[in-house]
Amino acid sequence: MREKLKNLLIVLLGILMVVMLVINLSLGLEESNLRAIGHRLGFRTDRGSTAIAVSEPAVLPAKLAIRGPQGLYLAGGSEMEDLLGTVSPILSEALGSVGKISSISENEFLNYLGGDHIACAFTFPVPFYLLQHWWTGETGFSSDQAASMLAVVSKEEAVAIVFCDDSTGKHYLAETAAGYERFVGQCQAAPAGNAFYAFERDGYHMLAAHEPVWSSAVYYPTYVVAVPDFSAEGAISDQLLSAFDINPFLAEVYKESDGDIVYIEGYNALQFSKDGRIHYSVTGDGGIDLEMDGLLSDKERKAHAARRICDILEQIGAAAGCDGGFSVAGIAEQPDGWVITCERFLGGAFVTETDGYSAVVTVRGGRITGIRITLTTAAEESSARLLPIQLATALLDGSNNSFFVRYAASDGMYIPDLYSTKGGARNGME
């Protein structure tokens, strides 16, 4: 009996000793080291890994405004992201519950803009069904219209969407089942007005009628730009390679004389240039699978492909230490696929790279067969005041012009500036 008691005591003390050793060890280590050890042993996951990653829509608005009791508020700079987060739920709800779509006149469209509403404008006429898919994540949309600008408005104590296609000059109204009280509450809480529409004041006939114009000074952040040095040790991480579906253990690595680094695995080639450009190409079979099996209609496949591509581009950017999301700028039909161009979104505006779009992606047979992407790291430095639109309009001729704020690279900086397009958002930037 005594011996059994001793044995039991030894076991209990042994267990207690192990537990207290572990506690001592965890108290003695810095939390980051402890997490690393735990991760290697497979006992713990990284902090924050259970947080949900919210997927952004594949196309972001170039302009975002909300009208409430205090007038029209047009978001600028970093305010864009805050306002987008606030209005996204009601925008998704409205886009996802669209019922009947009917044509309306331009005057009716402008009348709706005179009341409380939430408006977004895009850099190209986005097919409406793509907007619905990208902003709600739901499928099954099949409308044929496109939207250069849309507004969630109030119609007879219900919520509707009015939108226009600048390439055709047509205007539409879509009924929705979005919450009217929720929409009204959103507009009631809108910040103080800082803008007006061109049609609301004299002297702006050179602008498109639905063009929002800031009435006061607007500031956008400026950035110091650096090109990632892919030749540095560890710059091309396993995470960056896996974003391109390249296995770092199987790929052959070649260093070119001009400093470029090339990875080749099977039919896939991945080239890192010292000016921050990455070029991925595929010959024959191969490429990054977009997992489109089970999607039957061409519309569903296109919507899914564009959204997956934006996710992949953001993974690439994050793996290379580059901030900013990606937004679809255009989709060109190709035999058995598409060429999808994307722009980087930073500080509330799109970035114009020295040779055009931030990324050009080729899709064929449900797989990505080519990516050309320019990556830069951008550190916010200060802010710059934009040229007042009232002055900028003096440089315009004709009518139906629109302004967009964009970043352009200049002397190692991204500087915001106003760019004009003729005919609004027709085919993207000219």
């Binding site: 001793k6 030894i10 042994g14 000793m17 108290l27 949900i52 998704s92 709800e93 669209v98 709600t136």
Partner: protein, 257 residues
């Protein structure tokens, strides 16, 4: 016999080691607590040197290790809530994340981001607690009746931006959390960092005294339809309340009522 002696010796040895480990754990924890308190006192001293007074009750009221929490939208939990309130009902999905349940006594509409609307039919007397009462014994969410409506608390702290109130006629609407399981996210700054950040905010706003703080959670609706609770501190300056995000130390906007 020798084995018996060896076991006794082993027991004594293990007891000694355990006592040593136990004392070590206690002294380390005590040292960490003392160090943390010193850092909080130092933070208050730094602010005093910068001309900002921190009331004595502020450090005591500062909570430890708050975290953000995310509730994935659970349409099954919403359906169960509708059944509890209305009994048998018909479900409708017009799209956009909208789910409507129609029963004989009323209709409930659930929208993304926790938004809920209830329409009571004439003569119906629905007990909203059956709809809103958090489910699950382990739930850290609690319901409070307030100003004729209902308010939500998490771990005893008020959740700003959440609540259901009466509208026109027999309608009720507001934002609520119906899912039962949440996922934890990032931890807040340390208490000393919170005090320093509060001082920076006060200085920016032109105040020189921090009279009190109240810990709250801010409800934000995510684009995915899910809900996130962010820990925040309401800073009492005497004339105004400033809101500070406890994860970043930056100013935060109070959710609209």
């Amino acid at each position: 016999m020798e084995w018996s002696k060896a076991k006794s010796l082993l027991i004594l040895l293990m007891l000694a080691v355990n006592i040593y480990l136990g004392v070590n754990i206690y002294t380390q924890l005590r040292a960490e607590a003392v160090q943390e308190e010193e850092m909080v006192r130092d933070a208050c001293t730094i602010l005093k040197q910068q001309g900002i007074t921190v009331a004595e009750k502020v450090p005591e009221a500062l909570p430890f290790g708050l975290q953000s929490h995310t509730w994935v939208r659970d349409t099954e939990a919403e359906r169960q809530a509708a059944l509890r309130l209305l009994g048998e009902c018909h479900e409708d999905q017009p799209g956009g994340g909208i789910y409507t349940y129609n029963g004989t006594e009323g209709a409930i509409t659930f929208r993304s981001g926790g938004y809920v609307e209830l329409l009571e039919n004439d003569g119906a007397d629905l007990d909203l607690k059956r709809l809103l009462l958090p489910q699950g014994e382990e739930s850290r969410l609690t319901l409070m009746q307030q100003d004729g409506g209902f308010a939500l608390c998490f771990d005893g702290y008020a959740v700003l931006g959440a609540g259901v109130g009466k509208g026109e006629g027999e309608t009720w609407s507001g934002t609520w959390i119906f899912a039962s399981a949440s996922q934890t996210g990032d931890e807040s700054l340390s208490r000393a960092q919170l005090i320093l950040s509060a001082g920076r905010l006060l200085e920016k706003s032109g105040y020189t005294e921090l009279k009190g703080i109240t810990c709250v959670y801010l409800l934000t609706s995510l684009q995915s339809g899910d809900i996130r609770l962010l820990p925040a501190l309401l800073l009492d300056t005497g004339s105004e309340q400033l809101c500070m995000n406890a994860l970043t130390g930056e100013a935060a906007l109070l959710p609209q009522k």
